[in-house]
Structure formats: C-alpha cells, structure tokens
Amino acid sequence: MNNSLPSNSLKRPEAILFDTDNTLYEYSPANKAAESAVCLKIKNLLGIDKITFYRFYNQAKIDVKQNLANTASGHSRLLYFQRMIELLGLKAQLLLSLDLEQTFWRTFLANAPLFPGVVDTLMYLKSINVPIAIVTDLTSHIQMRKLTYFGLEDTFDAVVTSEEVGSDKPDIRNFELVFSKLGISDRPDFWMVGDDPFSDIYGASSIGAITFQKIHSNVKKGTNLEKPDYTFNNYYQLLDIFKELIDN
C-alpha cells in the first residue's frame, strides 16, 4: 500500500468508479487461456498451426485497432476473428467467426475469477451508501455478460462502457456519462479504482479524482501525470484504505 495524500484531507466521495478488466479480475491469464482455446479450435477445424494462428490473429488485431482506434469496437473479438479468417484467405466465414468468438469468451470467463476481496469491498461501499459505478472500455454486451458472470449484475448503481460514448477512456465523456447516470454534479468529489495508468489514473485524475491503482503482475505503477494517489496489491488492502479514509 502506498499513499501520497494525507487521509484527513479527503472528503467522503460522492461516487467511487471502478474499471473492470484487470481491475476486478486478472485479465492476462484469462485472455491467454481464451486465445489458446481458439487456437486449438482453429487447429482442429482448419489444420492451422499455432504459429500461423498467432501471426494472423495479431495482424488482425492491428488491422481492426487501426480502423477503430480508441473505440469499443476496436477490442471486438468478433471483428478480430472475422479479419483473421479474411487474412487466412477463407473469405467471409460468418458462422466460424461467431463460433470462435463464443469459444473465446466462454473460456475467458471460465478463467477469470474475481480478485479475492472484491465482493467484500463492494458490499462495504454499498452498506455505507456510497454510489459505485463501472466505467470500462469494450462493448456493452460482453461487459454486461462479464458482470453477470461475476454475480455483480445488481451491485453497481451505474455502468458505462466506451461503446455508449464512442471513445475509450481517458475520454472525459465516459466519466461525464457516469456522473449523469448517477445523478451527481459534473465535477463531483469522486474516487477512481483502476489498473491502467493512462486510461484510468490519468483519465480520472485529470478531472479531479482521487485515484487508486491495482498493482499485480505486469501492471506498472503510473508516474508523473499518471501517478496514482494510492496503490494496492489486493482488495483487502483497498478495503482497509477505504475504511480508514471514509471513517475519518
């Protein structure tokens, strides 16, 4: 735990916003397992080896992201797989694209357990009537599926995905939309919990948030403008920080 602000200078937040991917659960292992499942399926269905799969898949990701930079659709696995199949010279295999997308997300979810303590933290915030919301990139459908899978479908007071805004974080409109949904002022005293130094920490701190960065494997602490006010390694630490800050 690391903090750069004295706890007695903080006011009770009007809302606490959470990122989803890599903040509520660890993204990399789930993504890796899901890609492996798709790779295996492709191998079984089309006889394409692992190296070829990843070469075309990575190229497809680059192509889609170039066309749809900083948008929710830029993360769409369906578009990645559709493009990959096109790059493989198989033209429009729509059913296969849909099938691969389903395999990807099914495996992803099976390998994406919530971090320990997430539910305790959220329940604590609900118990003291602090509004909580999700501000996340990616398309609404899959993000809602994820939250439903986690059993958090009724937990948050508002959910905003970058698909609703048309642009990924740190686009300020993501935050403005969530404030609007929560029915609070345009520049409230709010806290942001996320993993990404740029989109979460910089994005939220640029409009006055107190920021909390989740640190785990492959997550680097933000520096300079992306420096968080607090860092935490697990949610029990965060819960202790919240209790200390809010009770004070």
Binding site: A33, A37, K41, R106, A110, N111, R145, K146, T148
Partner: protein, 696 residues
C-alpha cells in the same frame, strides 16, 4: 477432438487453482512451516542420512554402474543402507550430485548432506501442492496446519531423516492424474512410486477398483494397467535378478514386520493379521458400486492405517498415512485440533521413544561435536507400552471416523441396490428418446439402463391382437400415446374390459416392475407417460421429468395446472408459430424451451450463466402462486457451453464421473443440466442416501 476444448482438457487445473496455490504461499503458516524446515535442514544432519542413505547415493553417483545395489554391497557396505528402488535413487540424485561437486570445489563435506536434505523438502512441498490440487476447495489454514506444520511429518522427515516423502508424492501425483482423466501418466507415476518403495503396492488395487467403479472395464482401466505394467517393466524388472537389489530392496527387515502380528492356531500354525485386515479393506471398497474421490482417498488412507494399527510401525510409515488423514481433516473439518493433533503428538513421542538409536543428530554449524540422543524417553517398558497403546488407540479411532465420514460422503453412489430412477414422460415423443440416449451417454452406457414402459405392456398384449378385441378397439393402436391412454384408462377407471385383456395387461405391468427391480445399473431411465405406471412403481421414481409440446397460444401463456406432479417441467414451443400441425418434422432448434423450476432451485444461477457464458436469450417470471419460476430459453448453446454451465452450477459434479462427450448441445443439454442438478441436490439433501446397505 472438439470435446478437448473444455477447460479441463487443455489445462488440468485452471486459473482459480493457480490462485489458490498462490494464496497458500502467502499464509503465515506456510512461512512458519518453511522456516522451521529450513532451520532443521541447516542445523541437523539425521544419523540415517550420513550412515545409510548418503553413502549409497554417493557410491551410485561416483561409481556409475547399471546395478548400484550390487556395486554398493561389493564395496562391503551395509545391506540395509538403501532399501529403496530406482526412482528413489533418481529423486535424490540431482541435488546430491550438485552438492558433491560443490563440496569438491570448496573442499568441504557439508553441502552434499545439505543438498540431500533439500531434496526431501522439495518432495515434501510437492505433497502439499498435490494435496491442494486434489482438494480443490479447501481452507488454506487447515491444510497448512494439518500437513505443512504437522510435527510428525517434520520430525520424521527432517529430524529422523526418513525419505518416504518421495513415494507418497508419486502416489499423490498418480491420484491427481486419475482425477484429471490422465490414465497413462497415472500408470507411470504409480509404477515410479512402487519402484521407490514397494509398500506403495498397497494403493494399486484401490486405484484399480476406483477406476473400474468410475469408468467400468473400459479403455481407461486398460491404459492405467498397461502403463503401470510398462512402468514396472522399466523401473523394477531390470533389477529383480540382481543379488544386491534382492538383498537390499526385496528382503528388508521391514518386510518381516508384516508377519510380526499373528493369531496362534495351535502350537505351530499362525494366522497373520495384516493381510487379512488389508483384504477386508479391499473387499469393503470392492463392494461399493461406485466410489467418489473422497471415499477412494479415505479408503487408501485406511489401507495404510491397517498397517500402522496391526503391526509395530516404522517411523517413516506415518508419512504414508498423513496426507490421507489430512485429506479427511480438510474435507470434514473434523479432528483437527483434537484427535488429529493428539495422534500427531503421541505418534511423535512414540517414534522418539522407540527409535532411540536412529536419532543420533549432528549439528554441523553449531560446533564440531555431535549431539547424540540415544536414550529412550521412557525407560520403563510399561510406560512405553502405554504410549504405544495410546498411539494405536488413536489410530483406530481416526480410522473409524474416516470410514464413517467416507461412507457418508459417498452418498452420490450410495451403498444400495436401488437404481436412481428417472422418469421421462410427456408428449414430446420425438425429443424424449434423444434426451434418454444423451443422458445415458452422459452417465455412461454401462451405468444406465433405458426402459420404455409401453414395450412391456405392448409385448404382453400383442397376442391379444388375434383374439376378441375390446369394444374401444384400442389395441389396434401402436403409438405410445394410445398406450398411455390405454394404461391410464385401465389403471384409473372402474372399467369392465375383457378379462383376457386385463390378465395380459397385468402381466405386462408385473414384467415391467420385475425389470425395474432387477436393474443393477446406477441409473434407470423410464420412458413413457407416468400415468400408465402402477402406483407402487410411481413411488419408486426419484426424478419425474415431464416434457411436453405446446401448440396453442393459450397453453403457452397459461401456467399448467399439474406442475406439482413432476419434479421438473419442460415444454417446447415453436418459435414462429404456435399452431404448427407437423411438429414431428420440425427441428428442435426451431423451438423455444420453457421450464418451470421450483422456486430456489438453480434458476438464478442458470439465468446468470446462460446469459453470461452462452449469450442465450432467457426470460424469467414467477408463476402467480409464487411456487415456480418460469424460464423461457431461446438460442443454441454449444456442448462446451453446456458443460461449463454444469460445472459452475453443480459443485459435486466430479463425483458423478460423467462422460464429457455425453453433454449435448441445445435444449437437450439444458435438460441434462436440470437432471444432474436435481439428482445432485436430492442425493445431498434427502434421506435417500442414508439408507445404507451393502450390495448383495
């Protein structure tokens, strides 16, 4: 190949298991246990290491030969130095070899024994990890307290210096592989365990029974036995004609312990107790129709207990037992601080007391002089006997408690003659046979019987076709629907039918009941309308699933009035038209699936997982009487989706030993989930599982 896409197929354990193991390392108890072990490794050199094990390993590594046992004896060394096989030598060789070379480099003699002891730590740690993987859901603290910080294991391994952690680790890894359906690896691992210590043979028949009860006489059992045999051929057979191997490994003094407890039959004859007790344990396990992993592990522990209880145990033998005792303690959350801890302490004291000459310790980093403890704690033989009696009494008590817990946990495949009877009825005639067949594939062909009730009645009434027919002329009808009507009329209305017809009908029913009673498989699926069954057979049904077609809009919108007659109510209705006249020609995929589930029965999880995992369109509503939740499904979940939902919904699914390839896609898959969930819940909560009796 596509069935291999399931999570378990390509990663034996998932992210959650990895995280649990990660969290295990973060526990203070893990750090404390590790610190104690490292301290002991650094400060204590067990006597048996320096005088027995190390000379043999040193000799084997410095003068390499194909028969290290004979080579060792030829150098006039002690015959009881290393009563272990090839895999034990291989296990201790890598680190010891590094130690030998480092000792040469730095001109010391400290690193070799240290590296030998570190090998024990590696295998001790591996046992912890395999226990965690086998247990899946467990309390970190209980596991660490009962195994990692067990005073008995610490004393035996790090103070006394026994190296039985190696065969036990290999045995646990074999059990893990069986759980992951990797029978070839399991076979090789058990062969390695036996190769390291022959007493591991105790577990082999139990593993074979376990696989047989889970999979039957099938390819899995063949793979396991074949690879065990290949493993033994590779790791044991090449040495059995070696004199050194025979003298050091086969005919050890430990083998004689097997014959130390006996009942005298007259002046000369003796009945040895241990083989009888072990055979009895095997027989008790053999008589169970199917075995859950819990009971299998507990039975294996009991097999080892039978040795400990009925013969004077060597200290190292407790290490065979402790992991299975820990499994029981972690699962049951019982006997942790009371009997379990007491057993640890008493067995520890008894080991110190009875193995006085074996615990001569040297403390190389303290001073040059060795500290020798060769005095028994208790000089008085009476007190020694009392201590030993206490140990054996606690062992018996633990064995009894483990056995009783194991039987209760085995409720999924209870010790009874009765099959679990599933009735599939309704007017969805083109779906019910598919559902029966798919469910049979899921449970396993050998473990499931399908009986079409109407066949029995029809076969006994066919002769009537050539005699005077009843006035309704219903015997001309051959469909199930007409037979249902026939049976229903016969059983429920005071009618005056032809006595010959009545007689044949009764014979048909008797034949059906006899067939049900004589079924020996775990699951019996009865097709046809439940109304045609006689009342005594209806009472035997454990699960009544009704599957009907809805063809009119009124039926779709109204809650059926007879929901309470069945445990699970399912309906299929065309997506586009509710007035289809050719239902049998319409694919099931073009239907909407409706089920009414009792309030509180999995509907919440099913809704969440159906939406999140397979993006189905699901609509739910509560019936007006608030007794049922109506769920309407639209979509085509794949077989892998269904499998994953089932794994998430049914915590005890591994106890069913289902065939992964038996899951179906689509609505039949959803019905399979409902069936397994219901059975799981019923077996866990009703008295059905408490009526224990042995298989005749």
């Amino acid at each position: 190949m596509l069935n291999k896409l399931s999570r378990k197929a390509f990663t034996p354990y998932g992210i959650e298991e990895q995280r649990q193991i990660y969290l295990l390392h973060k526990q203070p108890l893990f750090i404390i246990g590790l610190a104690i072990k490292l301290l002991l490794i650094i400060s204590i050199t067990p006597y048996i290491h320096t005088s027995w094990f190390l000379p043999f390993v040193f000799n084997s590594l410095t003068s390499i030969t194909i028969d290290p046992w004979s080579s060792f004896i030829e150098n006039n060394n002690q015959i009881n130095s290393f009563p272990y096989g090839l895999s034990m030598l291989a296990a201790y060789s890598p680190l010891t070899l590094i130690g030998i070379n480092l000792d040469k480099l730095f001109s010391t003699n400290l690193i070799t024994p240290l590296s030998f002891r570190l090998t024990s730590l590696v295998f001790d740690y591996s046992i912890l990890i395999f226990l965690a993987l086998i247990l899946k859901n467990y309390s970190h603290k209980i596991l660490l307290f009962t195994y990692w910080c067990s005073p008995l294991v610490i004393f035996i391994t790090y103070v006394h210096g026994q190296i039985d952690v190696v065969p036990v680790m290999l045995l646990l890894s074999c059990i893990c592989m069986v759980g992951w359906n990797r029978y070839r690896s399991a076979g090789i691992l058990i062969a390695l365990a036996v190769s390291s210590k022959f007493s591991m043979l105790i577990a082999v028949p139990l593993i074979i029974i376990f696989i047989h009860r889970r999979k039957g006489l099938d390819i899995e059992l063949l793979k396991f036995t074949l690879f065990t045999f290949i493993g033994l051929l590779l790791f044991v057979f090449p040495f059995i004609f070696s004199n050194g191997y025979q003298e050091m490994v086969f005919f050890t003094k430990e083998v004689n312990r097997l014959y130390s407890v006996f009942i005298a039959y007259g002046a000369t004859l003796r009945v040895y107790v241990v083989p009888i007790v072990y055979l009895l344990t095997l027989y008790l396990v053999w008589r169970l129709r199917r075995i859950t992993q819990d009971l299998f592990l507990i039975a294996t522990g009991l097999g080892f207990f039978s040795l400990i209880i009925f013969i004077p145990p060597a200290p190292g033998w407790f290490v065979w037992l402790i992991p299975f005792l820990v499994y029981y303690q972690v699962r049951s959350k019982r006997d942790i601080l009371t009997i379990g801890l007491l057993f640890n302490i008493v067995a520890l004291l008894n080991s110190i007391n009875t193995s006085n000459s074996n615990i001569i310790l040297s403390m190389p980093f303290v001073n040059d002089n060795s500290y020798i403890s060769n005095t028994p704690l208790l000089i008085n033989q009476f007190y020694t006997n009392v201590l030993f009696t206490s140990q054996q009494a606690l062992a018996i008590l633990l064995a009894v408690r483990m056995y009783s817990y194991g039987l209760r946990r085995n409720s999924f495949y209870k010790i009874t003659n009765d099959s679990f009877i599933i009735s599939l009825s309704g007017n969805a005639f083109f779906v019910i046979p598919s559902l029966s067949r798919c469910t049979k594939n899921l449970f396993g062909q050998k473990f499931t019987t399908i009986i079409k009730s109407s066949t029995f009645i029809d076969s006994h009434m066919n002769p009537l076709k050539n005699i005077n027919k009843p006035s309704e002329n219903i015997l001309d009808k051959s469909t199930s629907a007409s037979l249902t009507e026939l049976s229903y009329n016969y059983l429920n209305t005071p009618h005056s039918v032809n006595p010959v017809y009545s007689n044949h009908f009764s014979r048909g029913l008797r034949s059906l009941i006899n067939s049900v009673n004589n079924t020996k498989t775990d699951f019996l699926i009865l097709n046809d309308d439940i109304n045609m069954l006689p009342s005594n057979l209806k009472k035997m049904l454990n699960l009544k699933l009704n599957l009907n077609m809805i063809t009119t809009r009124d039926d779709f919108e109204q809650t059926p009035s007879d929901l309470h007659k069945f445990n699970i109510n399912c309906f299929l209705t065309p997506v586009n038209s509710l007035n289809s006249n050719s239902l049998s020609s319409v694919s099931i995929d073009k239907y909407r699936f409706i089920t009414y589930l009792p309030l509180g029965f999995i509907h919440d999880q099913l809704l969440r997982l159906s939406i999140s995992i397979c993006a189905l369109k699901v609509d739910t509503e509560l019936t007006p009487d608030k007794q049922w939740v109506k769920m309407i499904f639209e979509g085509e979940p794949s077989r892998d989706d269904i499998s994953q939902i089932a794994r998430s919904i049914i915590p005890q699914i591994d106890d069913f030993s289902l065939y992964e390839s038996g899951w179906s896609s689509g609505y039949i898959g959803i019905m399979q989930i409902l069936i397994i969930s219901f059975i799981s819940e019923q077996l866990a909560t009703t008295s059905y599982s408490t009526n224990l009796k042995f298989v005749q």
